[in-house]
């Protein structure tokens, strides 16, 4: 394995650890849901290792619990996981044209919110090893957590489960807040996204939209409005998100990858 690959693999494993911890906590509660839906521990673990999708799996389990039709579970999975479609579109832009095709097929298993969030924050082209490194620790965390959730359901005290359940949100904040601090437009986009999301969760009528569907609709609508109002003009987008990772001990200076791309990290907006 060459230098670059082992560098990214190690980095992926390091960053995969907090993801795995968060996953473990979430998937543990997911396991409890699976148990309530009547799944065996191995079946729940199988769902987790083949899906890597919290909301999607949760929704799937509810369909299984109510003995819904196969079409129903397909449609439910499709709608709730549709945001991964957008994430994959976004991620596809980070690939080196020379990257072997099979990597695309493998990476397709691991486009989760967290892995995507970190992968897209790499300032240059994405090395697949980074995703594999994260997946190497995050995927077992997710799968084993689900399994243990079914087996040990109610052993963890409620206050521990409660505390662990904000872990993933903390990670999301660590990804979106630092770039928002540096770029007013991103700050505005983040703030309005949260405000609209809040409104849609509690206002009459719209609050009846399922959360997965709400996420898709808002993501498409708000991103589109932002894209039209504040198009980015730089040809080679240096994603602002890298700032979150550079402060995360992922400093690019020790990276064997060229430093030139990083200097010009501010993304310029046409306004």
């Amino acid at each position: 394995m060459n230098n670059k690959n082992s560098y990214w693999l190690k980095k992926g494993i390091t960053n995969g650890i907090p993801i795995a911890l968060g996953y473990f906590a979430v998937s543990f509660t997911l396991g409890i849901a699976a148990k309530n839906a009547g799944l065996a521990a191995l079946q729940a673990a199988l769902a987790s290792i083949t899906n890597h999708a919290s909301a999607g799996e949760f929704a799937g389990f509810t369909v299984i619990a109510t003995l819904g039709t196969y079409f129903e579970i397909m449609l439910m999975t499709l709608i709730i996981n549709a945001r991964y479609f957008l994430m994959s579109c976004s991620l596809s832009q980070k690939f080196d044209a020379k990257m072997p095709f099979f990597h695309r097929l493998f990476m397709g298993f691991f486009v989760t919110d967290e892995i995507f969030g970190l992968a897209v924050s790499v300032p240059e082209k994405l090395n697949p090893m980074y995703i594999y490194g994260m997946a190497l620790v995050a995927s077992p965390g997710w799968t084993i957590g689900t399994y243990l959730g079914v087996v040990f359901g109610n052993i963890l005290p409620a206050n521990v489960v409660s505390a662990l359940s904000v872990g993933l949100y903390g990670m999301f904040l660590a990804i979106i807040i630092p770039p928002a601090r540096k770029d007013k437009i991103i700050a505005g986009v983040v703030a309005s996204s949260m405000a609209v999301s809040f409104a849609c969760t509690y206002l009459p009528i719209v609050k009846n939209i399922a959360s997965g569907t709400r996420i898709i609709i808002l993501t498409v609508a708000i991103s589109l409005i932002a894209a039209v109002l504040f198009p980015i003009k730089e040809d080679n987008i240096q994603d602002n998100m890298q700032t979150s990772s550079s402060e995360d001990g992922l400093d690019m200076k020790d990276s064997p990858i060229n430093n030139d791309t990083i200097k010009d990290q501010e993304v310029h907006h046409e306004s």
């Binding site: 907090p18 079946q43 769902a47 899906n51 999607g56 799996e57 799937g60 369909v63 039709t69 196969y70 579970i73 397909m74 999975t77 996981n81 991964y84 479609f85 994430m87 994959s88 579109c89 976004s90 991620l91 596809s92 832009q93 044209a97 695309r104 097929l105 990476m107 397709g108 486009v111 969030g117 206050n159 521990v160 409660s162 505390a163 359940s165 904000v166 949100y169 903390g170 999301f172 904040l173 990804i175 979106i176 807040i177 630092p178 986009v189 983040v190 996204s193 949260m194 999301s197 809040f198 509690y202 709400r214 996420i215 808002l218 708000i222 894209a227 980015i232 003009k233 987008i237 402060e247």
Partner: protein
């Protein structure tokens, strides 16, 4: 209709995989269209924001602990704490606040 758990699981797995892999495999070149590029650039910020708030408020035993954890998380991230630190700080905040609340 016959209901086999493994068929359910297979449908879930296939659907999820196709959603993720189709854009990865079909979009083989860099998108030149500026609006699409900008759109994809904003997607992660919007989607993570929308998923975090207000969902975080109902994730814990008490909305107060969650709200304080949210504030602590935002501040920690603002002041450049690492991913792991922000995450752990948020969890600890919930733990401590709920401990105090339910004394």
């Amino acid at each position: 209709m016959n209901h086999n758990v493994y068929i359910y699981l297979l449908i879930m797995a296939l659907t999820t995989y196709l959603i993720r892999v189709l854009p990865l495999t079909l979009i083989r070149r860099e998108i030149k269209n500026q609006t699409i590029k900008s759109f994809l650039y904003y997607v992660p910020y919007v989607t993570l924001s929308v998923m975090t708030f207000p969902a975080i408020l109902t994730a814990t035993e008490s909305m107060i602990s969650a709200a304080i954890a949210l504030a602590v998380g935002i501040l920690a991230a603002w002041f450049g704490r690492s991913l792991f630190q922000v995450s752990v700080l948020s969890c600890l905040t919930v733990f401590v606040v709920e401990f105090l609340l339910f004394l």
